[in-house]
């Protein structure tokens, strides 16, 4: 975390990092032998959540069924929405001799029960440790089922689980989704969708990281009000917060649609709410490298400065003026800051959580005059 100027004059296509004004002492991560009460969960949770925000997609985790169950349990309790994640359900024999057949059976059964458009195949520690190559197994599967009309698109995610947290999983899964569904992978065995734009408005890609469905709905509204068309990945706004069903929905409606993936290729720019995720894990960086799409990588927009940077950049891109609605909201917020200052000023705060959330909140706490005394994350960024 390097301390940088948090002023608003940052070029739109530059990776931006902010930190709390007071430099914090950063302890080296991964040193303590026993980790207690961690702030992080495992990488496949992020992978599973990311594809929950892709239209008509199902995740199969290659490994022990407990991984899928634990992740479901955790995501379902958090969002209070159903989350189905399939598993290749390793046995001791698969752990010894390899689980390719289990994975293929799992894919068969998922195709029958869900008829998904996309199957994302993630790995777990177990599959990683025995060196399973999910990309290869998926390629074999496609070959074996060549010519079947209802064959879904596959996104293999051979991401080693012991090298990151749920946030890394989320971002890497988004990058893989963009690679396979917008760009087409370099060793292309599946062509990306070629779909016309349904909406004439210029698209902007938003990679929000881990935010709530309500946040995503608000972000979409904001981008629209700036005269642009939001393409959000993952789009959890409907899939992870929906009403009752009148008929059974094996896969909930909503999520980033194929046309939106296609639209990302013509995006005016992309915004990624992460400064901590490595370049190689960033979807925004991928679009920038391959297609030269300008990008803004910033911490989560919490508070005036960070939101100013977001809205400022969107308006720069669109050439529009800010809508009165958002200007008024900003004015009211400044007003609230002033009103609340006497209560909040100087209060000492501890923040812990995901890195980009901690950065975003720290910026906000600093704005309202609170004193950040400790910031903890479970990530390995330093």
């Amino acid at each position: 975390m390097k301390t940088t100027d948090t002023s608003n004059n940052v070029p739109a296509n530059e990776t931006v990092a902010t930190a709390p004004v007071r430099p914090l002492k950063i302890s080296k991560p991964g040193r303590a032998p026993v980790t207690h009460n961690a702030c992080t969960v495992c990488l496949p949770l992020g992978v599973s959540l990311a594809f929950r925000g892709v239209e008509n997609a199902v995740v199969v985790l290659h490994g022990s069924q407990g991984c899928a169950t634990y992740i479901r349990r955790y995501l379902i309790s958090h969002f209070k929405e159903p989350v189905d994640i399939a598993s290749s359900s390793f046995t001791e024999a698969s752990a010894v001799f390899g689980g390719a057949q289990n994975l293929k059976t799992a894919i068969d059964n998922v195709r029958i029960s869900y008829t998904p458009a996309i199957i994302a195949v993630g790995t777990t520690c177990l599959a990683d440790t025995i060196g399973e190559d999910v990309s290869m197994i998926v390629r074999e599967y496609i070959k074996e089922h060549e010519g079947e009309g209802d064959l879904p698109l596959f996104v293999p995610l051979p991401i080693p689980n012991s090298r990151g947290t749920h946030i890394d999983g989320l971002h890497q899964a988004c990058r893989a989704a963009v690679e396979y569904l917008s760009l087409g992978p370099e060793d292309s065995f599946q062509a990306p969708a070629e779909l016309p734009l349904a909406d004439a408005t210029t698209p902007v890609g938003i990679f929000p990281g881990l935010v709530s469905p309500a946040d995503i709905r608000y972000l979409k509204e904001l981008v629209q009000d700036c005269g642009l068309r939001p393409v959000v990945l993952p789009d959890l706004s409907e899939t992870m917060e929906g009403g009752l069903w009148d008929q059974y929905e094996p896969i909930p409606k909503g999520g980033t649609a194929p046309a939106e993936f296609a639209a990302l290729r013509d995006a005016l720019g992309t915004v990624e709410f992460s400064t901590t995720v490595h370049k190689d894990s960033s979807a925004a960086e991928l679009l920038h490298e391959r297609l030269g799409i300008p990008l803004l990588r910033a911490p989560l927009p919490v508070g005036i400065s960070a939101t100013d940077r977001l809205i400022g950049t969107l308006l720069d891109w669109s050439g529009n003026e800010i809508s009165q609605k958002h200007q008024q909201e900003r004015d009211r917020l400044i007003d609230a800051y002033a009103d609340g200052h006497k209560y909040l000023s100087g209060l000492r705060v501890a923040v812990f959580g995901e890195e980009d959330l901690v950065l975003g909140l720290s910026g906000f706490l600093n704005e309202v005059g609170m004193e950040l005394v400790i910031a903890g994350t479970g990530g390995r960024t330093s």
Binding site: T35, A38, T40, S64, S87, S89, A95, L103, N109, T124
Partner: protein, 539 residues
């Protein structure tokens, strides 16, 4: 909804299976039977879930760490593995515990993990595990440290048992033991229960000599103090003059386990998760075990009376009758009040290895009918009774789990009851070393299904249109999307307690609230409802 509820069982079952590939369909059919007691039919249980079918089952590690060992407050439980497994099994709210004093040890709210990284997977994690155990010891000086293996540990060959032995010898005053409970080892969490039973029996039970005072000493096995259930039962025992030596493992400490061999009777609540320990303790120490159920007011009274019968002491029996007389009538009166609103409603239960059975008692008391039930990780004996145990096929997954060779302890074995005395008690209806399973207690028409999948649950709902479903968090929101309330019976939706008399009352109240909710009637707005003639009110 296309299916008619008049469809006969066989046809309905066939219809469920039809949606699967034929091999899968055939396999799933074997896990669905009708609860007709006169035609004993075999149910397929404790077999591997088909890959890609969304099951509610967990893994071996979950059963070992989360269920059996988790509720013991003064053991530092370290997960040896990557961070996810430790985090997900962090018991923050589900199992309750009551430390003796505010200063007493309680590590249940902590989550400890070796947080394995790439380099440990490649070069081995034993050194890191030793450091972790040392650090935990230095920080807390606990009485015991337990180490739980996750999937990668078994594969890279870390010897958690050797590390545990070494550290135990080094500390001298801390019992350190390990569990080879890698997630992939068994069919479900059930395998983990067995592994936990074995290690607790090997490393803890019988290690403390101090015998607790009391005339009628029992252990309560398979009660995990979800929502404070164990507190209810403890209170009841105290009122009756029954001494509870240890509970495996709700509201327990490691010392309770260590002294468990002093009890004269083992009461088994959850047969599935703990019958191994009951059997081993009987062989080694001569403690008979008996199946009981403290879920339901009538069942609680019955269980208490059985304990009185076992000890055969008139004073104890009189005391039990006095307690029962005070509480049972009061609870039944409340049930009668609630029954006015719940009579005739229907429920389905898909949970655990005993709860799908035990909770049917409470529904009976509310006049509600259980139309379908099944376990998530039960075995055939939990459905059909222990008489089928010799016929259960031993597959590779079962063989995978160590069967301890237990012998009579030359010093600690003490015969509590003679064979003849036990036979006489059995004749009086006590389930001594026996469990008759769920099916004999069910309506003959009821649908029994093992390891129900997401899709099958949907078919059952469509077919039976139940008023309430009891299952867990993984089913909860999918079920409620249909406008059917779901009561979680794994964690009680953080409510409870539901055990014993006080618990029964809580449960009646909860079910009254859930099936009587007007919320689901509001789902369809007036503009989507068919037009109805409305009386015109003239003011």
């Amino acid at each position: 909804m296309s299916t008619s509820s008049s469809l006969p069982f066989e046809e309905f079952r066939g219809e469920i299976a039809k949606a699967y590939p034929s091999k899968v369909g055939k396999k799933r059919m074997k896990s669905m039977i009708q609860a007709t007691p006169r035609e004993p039919r075999e149910i397929q249980a404790n077999v591997r879930t088909v890959p890609g079918i969304i099951s509610q089952r967990g893994c071996t590690y979950a059963g070992c760490k989360g269920v059996v060992l988790g509720p013991t407050r003064d053991i530092v439980n370290i997960t040896h593995g990557p961070i996810g497994c430790g985090f997900y099994s962090w018991l923050t709210r589900r199992n309750q515990t009551r430390p003796e004093t505010p200063e007493s040890e309680n590590y249940m709210t902590y989550c400890f993990s070796t947080d394995m990284q790439d380099e440990h997977i490649v070069f081995g994690g034993e050194t890191r595990l030793k450091e972790a155990i040392q650090e935990a010891y230095d920080l807390f000086h606990p009485k015991a440290i337990a180490v739980f293996s996750t999937c990668p540990v078994g594969l890279i060959g870390d010897d958690v048992h050797a590390v545990a032995r070494e550290m135990k010898a080094k500390f001298g005053d801390c019992n350190v033991f390990g569990f080879s409970c890698e997630g992939y080892k068994g069919v479900s969490q059930s395998a983990g229960h067995h592994i936990a039973n074995n290690q607790i029996f090997k490393h803890v039970v019988g290690t403390e000599d101090e015998a607790p005072e009391g005339e009628f000493r029992v252990n309560l096995l398979g009660e995990y103090n979800i929502g404070g259930d164990a507190f209810e039962i403890e209170e009841l025992f105290e009122a009756c003059g029954i001494t509870l030596v240890s509970t495996f493992s709700g509201n327990s400490t490691v010392s309770h386990f260590a002294r468990a061999h002093h009890a004269d009777l083992n009461l088994v609540m959850c047969h599935r998760s703990i019958n191994y320990l009951a059997e081993m303790m009987e062989t080694k120490y001569g403690i008979p075990w008996m199946k009981v159920n403290f879920i339901g007011a009538a069942a609680t009274a019955k269980a208490l009376r059985k304990v009185g019968e076992y000890f055969g002491d008139e004073a104890l029996k009189a005391k039990i009758e006095k307690v029962v007389a005070g509480k049972l009538t009061e609870t039944q009166e409340y049930a009668a009040e609630v029954r006015k609103r719940t009579q005739g409603k229907t429920a389905m239960l898909f949970v655990g290895g005993s709860r799908a059975h035990h909770y049917q008692e409470l529904f009976k008391e509310l006049g509600m009918k259980t139309i379908a039930a099944g376990y998530e990780f039960g075995h055939r004996d939990d459905y059909e009774g222990r008489t089928v145990i010799p016929d259960i096929t031993i597959d590779a997954d079962t063989r995978n789990i160590e069967e301890l060779k237990v012998e009579r302890d030359p010093e600690l074995y003490r015969e509590r009851k003679t064979e003849a005395e036990l036979e006489a008690l059995k004749a009086k209806g006590l389930e001594i070393a026996d469990y008759e399973g769920m099916i004999p207690d069910m309506d003959p028409e009821a649908f029994v299904i093992d390891d129900v999948s997401h899709y099958e649950l949907e078919k059952l709902m469509e077919h039976y249109k139940p008023d309430l479903i009891c299952a867990g968090i993984k089913e909860k929101y999918a079920v409620q999307k249909w406008g059917v309330p779901l009561k979680q019976l794994h964690n009680y939706d953080y409510g409870g307690p539901y055990a014993a008399f006080g618990g029964a009352r809580n449960f009646y109240e909860e079910i009254d609230r859930m099936v009587g909710s007007k919320l689901w009637d509001m789902v369809t707005p007036p503009w989507l409802r068919p037009l109805e003639p409305r009386p015109v009110e003239i003011v």
